[in-house]
């Protein structure tokens, strides 16, 4: 375990670490574009240089192995001068039009330039122009003028998503990142990670482009419900203080983008493209109207109706949602578990064209909490499953079950969040809240529990399932 010194302070290091890694592990931020903890060292941006005490030159820290008693300075005169020079070079042909750049507010170059240089350019030459909007795929566009050629995106497709679908063509200051001609970037299920990886505004997500300045947005920590991996994500939506008054109110409840939230235990810093595309799933037309015996009713009336159906039922069956949180499942188990025969239902199956599973992140089970649900209720409802003999009430919670399958004579209670014409067939329908309106936890297929927070308030007519079950059980429990 060598000990090294950074700016005079001692740090324990692993002999396989670089100075950059030791610094990062101890919360010391050394500027740099090309280094990324999950990618190989490229050492091409040259910004992370430090001075080894006693030497009159600088060396890059991302490729500097630690050695016992190595002493590095990160803020000496030489280092400061050197950083200025690198940033002067980096911005030589870079447009620095942060005002219209989608990365402004989260761009490393913008930050470093102000922190470490700030001086106007000494160049009298005309900037070299490059392709402004080059479509790397139908999802990602590339502004070559802003690219600092850090090669993070290229290394990502070689080392992480393994499609090797990006490379660099040409030489010198005409170098350009380009997708390989075989179209592999288009079908790379992880391609959008390069947008987050890109330290500057060169790689732009076409779905987010010019939608919002990031400082108007708030990131709510959440868990992707797209599959049983349960990747940690951030859901970006407008901050309450920046609510739009004039435009359609839906803008204030929109999820503007979904990005990974680094969770070493689950997904590291990556998510798949499917996870980024889930916002429309949340933004489908909501069910807000409770129904009882074919009539629209107020939610309390529907709850009352459901309660009396449950009370009368002798052999009730429940199909619980694998999109439900552990807290909701526990509430169901506590309130109604003993009364019902419970099966865990899959709310979603792979859709045509969707990657079913791979050895990176994507799991074949497209539900976030099958593991949590099955920990509460052991029986799974599968394609061949049938209702037990004598079932007289069916409670269906969530999506993925077609009510048309059940005989008309069977009483049904449906709890769902989104509008579906099938709901009218139910004896009682109660609208419930969705993930973005509540907080809770999911247990992923490996047993890791991750929590998510609420982004928005729910509608008054919608019930939180977690509260609802106690209400449904009130009389029943009393009678038991």
């Amino acid at each position: 375990m060598p000990r090294i010194y950074i700016d005079g302070l001692p740090y324990e290091a692993d002999s396989r670490q670089t100075v950059m890694e030791v610094a990062a592990a101890n919360g010391i931020v050394l500027p740099g574009f090309c280094w990324h903890p999950k990618l190989s060292v490229a050492g091409n941006c040259r910004l992370c240089a430090v001075q080894v005490e006693g030497r009159s030159w600088v060396e890059i820290s991302c490729n500097m192995p630690v050695a016992q008693d190595l002493k590095v300075l990160t803020d000496s005169d030489i280092v400061r001068e050197y950083r200025k020079s690198i940033l002067a070079l980096t911005t030589l042909n870079h447009p620095v039009d942060c005002g219209i750049c989608d990365k402004a507010g989260e761009c490393l170059l913008q930050d470093y330039h102000y922190e470490h240089n700030g001086a106007p350019s000494t160049s009298h030459e005309v900037k070299v122009h490059a392709t402004k909007f080059h479509a790397l795929s139908s999802r990602i566009t590339l502004d070559n003028e802003r690219c600092v050629l850090c090669s993070r995106c290229v290394r990502f497709t070689h080392e992480i998503s393994k499609t090797k679908s990006l490379g660099i063509v040409q030489r010198g200051d005409t170098s350009l990142v380009r997708a390989s001609g075989d179209g592999a970037f288009e079908t790379d299920a992880y391609s959008d990670n390069v947008v987050d990886l890109c330290p500057v505004g060169a790689l732009l997500s076409r779905s987010f482009l010019y939608k919002s300045r990031v400082w108007y947005l708030k990131a709510t920590p959440s868990v992707c419900p797209g599959c049983a991996r349960g990747c940690a994500v951030n859901l970006w939506h407008r901050k309450p203080e920046w609510k739009l008054q004039a435009l359609d109110a839906r803008h204030n409840r929109a999820i503007e983008r979904i990005t990974p939230r680094d969770n070493p235990a689950v997904n590291g810093p990556w998510i798949c493209n499917r996870g980024r595309d889930l916002a429309p799933l949340f933004e489908r037309e909501r069910a807000t109207q409770a129904i009882c015996a074919g009539f629209s009713v107020a939610t309390p009336a529907a709850i009352e109706g459901a309660r009396s159906l449950i009370e009368r039922a002798r052999r009730p069956v429940a199909l619980v949602s694998s999109w439900a949180s552990n807290e909701e499942l526990a509430a169901f188990a506590a309130a109604l578990g003993r009364h019902f025969t419970v099966f865990v239902k899959r709310d979603r199956e792979p859709e045509p064209g969707e990657v079913v599973a791979d050895d990176i992140l994507i799991c074949a089970d497209k539900n976030p909490n099958s593991t949590g649900a099955l920990a509460n209720f052991a029986s799974a409802w599968g394609p061949g499953s049938t209702l037990p003999e004598g079932t007289d009430l069916l409670l269906v919670w969530g999506e993925g079950f077609d009510l048309a399958q059940v005989p008309q004579s069977l009483r049904t209670i449906v709890l769902d969040a989104w509008k579906n014409p099938g709901h009218a067939r139910a004896d009682v329908f109660i609208p419930v809240s969705i993930q973005t309106e509540r907080r809770g936890t999911y247990t992923n297929f490996e047993g890791t529990v991750s929590g998510f927070e609420a982004c928005f308030e729910k509608d008054d007519s919608v019930a939180h399932a977690e509260d609802l079950f106690a209400a449904l059980a009130a009389a029943n429990v009393a009678a038991a």
Binding site: V41, A42, G43, N44, C45, R46, L47, A49, W57, V58, I60, N63, P65, Y82, S85, I86, A88, L89, T90, L92, N93, T122, S123, H124, E125, V126, V128, V148, L149, S151, G167, I168, Q170, R171, G172, D173, T174, S175
Partner: protein, 431 residues
């Protein structure tokens, strides 16, 4: 001009063939090495000879070899760097065309010393005749059983592949060369680790220049002492010099370091056309700093003497610049080259080369500003030691070297918006 170690036979239409090489005593050094020496002894002999790399960096070849741990259980690789791309440098070409078996035999010896099973020759794509000659020689050598089979009753076997590069300056840089050989983009790699620790396919690899390797057979045949008896104390052996530019007899010459520089230029190479003066000489490829005609007159031709004026023998590519040449235009040509060849991997070189090129273009176009010269020096300094490979530094050396010795010409150009020498790149009488 002294001893001849490489150009020591008469060139005939068949002198490059195996039969002729054997008639000259070829392939006896490998027999000797295998029969009488351990791999360690071969390396010790090479180290004792003091031979320095002939590719430009002048690093001791023996020291490079000694780093390879023969008992590490890994494959080791050997690669001859035949990607001769420094402007003005074409001396390895002579060996590839005229003494290909000397290179092959020497590589067998090196492969034995380094316990290499697979060796490579990475050759510039544009080198057509050299490629045909070395490939033809390799075919002959395979047919004669020197490659691909156990040699001389030992269990030493070596296979060799000739790989043609696509022609990029940076692929002559050892690590860029290996990336290209691996089938990747020819980007140089960061050190550490050194290539002798992690080179081709992440295994210990020795990359040597063609001329360096070609001396090995001679060192084994004649012994380290005999080798050291030629050249100077610090630069033993001979050097191949390719000379071009404003010179009457351009070509490849073998010299023994230590002789008078002036003698080489005027007596051996016939001096400057029209009997004109030498204005300057780039002694060892454009990455070495230029020496003035006045310096040429008083220097000997060796690394030690050249170092006193901040230069060196580099890659042996000598470019003579006769009087009347415009140094501003010359620097423009050099910077155009560096700009064109920068691989674009690291920031200072990628951006700096283009910047320098554009500044000099503007000066030549008559739009120079006094502060431009400082700016050129500053960009050179920003590159110095701060790039992945030596290319960024090299451009700076060339620039700083010319600016230091011919600043008056640049100042004149900027002040008057035109060249003091009419922008000549040809050799003209002084006006």
């Amino acid at each position: 001009m002294g001893a001849r170690l490489l150009m020591n036979f008469e060139l005939t239409p068949t002198s490059h063939t195996l039969a002729d090489y054997r008639a000259r005593g070829g392939y006896r050094a490998i027999e000797k090495a295998l029969g009488e020496m351990t791999p360690q002894q071969v390396t010790a002999e090479v180290t004792a000879s003091g031979i320095q790399g002939r590719g430009g960096a002048n690093f001791s070849a023996g020291r490079k070899w000694s780093v390879v741990n023969l008992s590490d259980g890994q494959p080791h690789y050997l690669c001859a760097n035949a990607d001769e791309g420094e402007p003005g440098t074409f001396k390895d070409r002579w060996i590839l065309e005229n003494a290909p078996h000397l290179l092959l035999e020497s590589m067998l010896i090196a492969a034995y010393a380094l316990q290499v099973r697979h060796a490579f020759i990475y050759i510039r794509g544009e080198f057509d005749l050299p490629w045909r000659r070395i490939s033809g020689a390799l075919e002959e050598a395979y047919a004669a059983g020197y490659f691909g089979k156990p040699l001389f009753g030992t269990d030493f076997v070596c296979d060799l592949v000739v790989y043609r590069g696509a022609g990029s300056y940076v692929c002559g840089e050892a690590s860029g060369l290996l990336s290209s050989l691996e089938g990747k983009r020819g980007y140089p790699r960061n050190r550490p680790p050194r290539l002798t620790v992690r080179g081709l396919y992440q295994r210990p690899t020795v990359v040597n220049n063609v001329e360096t390797l070609s001396n090995i057979a001679g060192i084994i045949n004649g012994g380290a002492e005999a080798f050291k008896a030629t050249g100077t104390k610090k630069s033993p052996g001979t050097r191949l010099i390719s000379i071009s530019g404003h010179i009457n007899k351009p070509g490849v010459y073998e010299i023994e370091p230590g002789g008078a520089f002036r003698e080489f230029i005027f007596d051996t190479c016939g001096g400057v056309p029209g009997g004109r003066k030498v204005k300057a000489i780039i002694p060892g490829g454009i990455s070495t700093k230029v020496v003035t005609g006045e310096e040429v007159d008083r220097l000997t031709l060796d690394n030690e003497a050249l170092a006193t004026v901040g230069s060196g023998m580099g890659s042996g590519g000598m470019v003579v610049i006769g009087e009347g040449t415009c140094m501003v235009r010359l620097l423009q040509v050099l910077l155009r080259f560096y700009h064109h060849e920068s691989c674009g991997q690291c920031t200072p070189c990628r951006e700096g080369m283009g910047w320098m090129h554009r500044i000099i273009d503007r000066i030549v176009a008559g739009g120079g500003r006094p502060e431009d010269l400082e700016q050129l020096k500053k960009i050179s300094a920003w590159n110095d030691g701060n790039t992945i490979c030596g290319m960024g530094d090299a451009a700076g050396y060339a620039t700083v070297g010319i600016l230091a010795k011919f600043s008056d010409e640049f100042e004149y150009f900027i002040a008057h918006g035109r060249s003091r020498h009419d922008g000549n790149l040809e050799c003209r009488a002084s006006t």
